[in-house]
């Protein structure tokens, strides 16, 4: 109970500071509107905000799912195929070292203004940590356990499913925890470059119309969404309770 109280007091203080601090410090409304104005603007445009949030959420979820599936597939390919390790791995690393934000306009050119380009941008931002985490998890299986399985005459299939997959899970979980916030960034960046809907688009629209309060409302919604999504991943990752329990 005490911990709940702490949380409520902390966020309450933050809200009050925002609300009254802005006026007290004489910050102009277009730079940082008070919290109440932000909430009002968001409520006034609630249909648009909810609609845009839904679009962004779909982009993030689909892009993230693609990044996880694609990342795992690429990680496994690189782990199991020496050829892929020599060719695909350096290619992906080079791709990763490129500033992905520079590729976002290209996604618009290739996939248009709609949904597809946002999925592509989200994927691009989010897939790399999954590749690295999968790769690290699979190659980090303790050598003594590998030998033990060999001595027990385990088939390749059994070794993979009963040893490599569970052993790689803690690392994989770390990867998707990094990847989840990156997916949100990818979707918003995609919407910045060119879109007709989504929270990123709402931000550019509000900025163009000098509606700081609506822009902050959009930022607030993105923040809440990203936090909730991360929390879901965090909760889901508790399935892998054996992290750090190596014996």
């Amino acid at each position: 109970m005490k911990r709940w109280l702490e949380t409520i007091v902390f966020w309450g203080a933050f809200a009050l500071l925002w609300e009254y601090g802005v006026a007290a410090l004489g910050i102009r409304r277009y730079l940082l509107p008070p919290l109440s104005a932000v909430l009002q603007a968001g409520w006034a445009e609630r249909e648009m905000v909810v609609g845009d949030a839904w679009v962004t959420l779909c982009e993030v979820l689909i892009g993230f799912a693609a990044a996880v599936l694609g990342g795992v597939a690429l990680g496994m390919l690189i782990h199991f195929s020496a050829f892929a390790r020599r060719t695909l791995y350096p290619f992906i690393t080079a791709l990763q070292s490129m500033p992905k934000i520079a590729l976002a306009p290209l996604m618009i050119v290739w996939f248009g203004y709609g949904f597809a380009s946002k999925i592509a941008a989200t994927f691009l931002f989010a897939f790399f940590p999954v590749v690295i985490a999968t790769l690290g998890g699979l190659s980090g299986v303790a050598a003594n356990l590998d030998e033990h399985f060999r001595a027990l005459g385990a088939s390749r299939w059994d070794s993979f499913w009963r040893l490599h997959v569970p052993a790689a899970m803690p690392s994989f979980i770390d990867g998707i925890k990094i990847s989840m916030p990156l997916a949100v960034i990818g979707a918003i960046v995609g919407e910045f470059i060119g879109a007709e809907e989504g929270l990123g688009h709402l931000i550019t629209l509000a900025t163009a119309n000098a509606k700081s309060d609506l822009m902050f409302a959009a930022i607030l919604v993105i923040t809440v969404m990203a936090t909730l999504l991360y929390w879901v991943v965090e909760m889901a990752s508790r399935v892998v309770w054996w992290r750090g329990k190596a014996v």
């Binding site: 001595a151 385990a154 054996w242």
Partner: protein, 282 residues
């Protein structure tokens, strides 16, 4: 009685049974060789190429308990892995049950120094894992694991996870996992090396009890002279790298061996003294 009475033979020169021979339990029906290693050489190639083993020959008869002692780095673990089919030999011949070793065999169970429990499986599931990987009948395996759980003093911990157990219990569960396979040959690579002396002594007694009940052929790698003498029918002493078998010592102590009637036995002390002298640690 002097140490001269102890039968210490150079490899290849199998002597007569000495005065102590009659006391041992190996006088039963002639047993065949289950493990036969002939002139094995193991070379690790590369820039720093070296021979881990050179001209190693030994044989272990059915239901014999043989320990291999040697200084660290002498290749004794490599030797065990070659017999287990986990490491390829460079030269020579290894026969297990008269067949050349070409990979891990279902006749063999290997207990390693590390416990090798999977952290995400309960003790019971860990103990069943080997039987599942070897596709042994499920119901019999479950019954066997239940029995082993009791024998190894793990009752009540079936549903615990490895990280909740002490090192000694984990190692017992590991031994249980291998015994559940009912292998006719048990290879052990310093199975108690990571444990404290007290736990080690207790597990030695347990191991002997299980061995006496089931009478598998055992090849044990250890660096404890006391452990080797207490447990074994024969102790093989290896040279420093490149490992060769220098001595083959028959341990003629009565069985069943219990600490109370072995550790006070003067012959036990003499064997330990003799082997210590051979190994230069005396």
């Amino acid at each position: 009685m002097t140490t001269a009475n102890l039968k210490v033979v150079e490899q290849g020169k199998v002597g007569e049974l000495g005065e102590l021979g009659e006391v041992g339990n190996m006088a039963s029906a002639p047993a065949r060789d289950v493990i036969c290693v002939r002139n094995v050489l193991k070379r690790y190639p590369g820039k720093n190429a070296f021979n881990a083993l050179e001209d190693v020959s030994l044989s272990i008869r059915e239901r014999e308990f043989v320990s291999i002692l040697g200084p660290s780095g002498c290749g004794k673990s490599t030797l065990l892995r070659i017999v287990a089919g986990l490491v390829e030999r460079s030269e020579g011949e290894v026969l297990v049950n008269d067949r050349p070793v070409a990979g891990p065999s279902p006749d063999i169970g290997v207990v390693f120094q590390t416990s090798n429990m999977l952290p995400w499986l309960s003790v019971e599931k860990n103990m069943l894992l080997g039987t599942q990987l070897r596709k042994l009948p499920r119901q019999q395996s479950q019954a066997r694991v239940r029995e082993l759980t009791r024998m190894l003093g793990l009752s009540g911990f079936e549903h615990s996870y490895p990280h909740q157990l002490s090192g000694g219990m984990r190692q017992r569960a590991s031994i249980g996992q291998i015994l559940a396979l009912e292998p006719s040959i048990l290879l052990m690579d310093e199975p108690f090396g990571a444990l404290d002396a007290l736990t080690r002594d207790l597990l030695n007694v347990e191991l002997l009890r299980i061995w006496q009940e089931r009478m598998q052929t055992v090849m044990l790698i250890t660096h404890s002279i006391q452990e080797a003498v207490f447990l074994s029918d024969r102790v093989l002493v290896m040279s420093p790298r490149p490992g060769r078998i220098l001595h083959d010592i028959r341990i003629d102590l009565p069985r069943p061996r219990l600490p109370e009637n072995i550790k006070g036995n003067p012959r036990y002390g003499q064997y330990i003294a003799e082997i210590s002298k051979i190994m230069g640690v005396y």
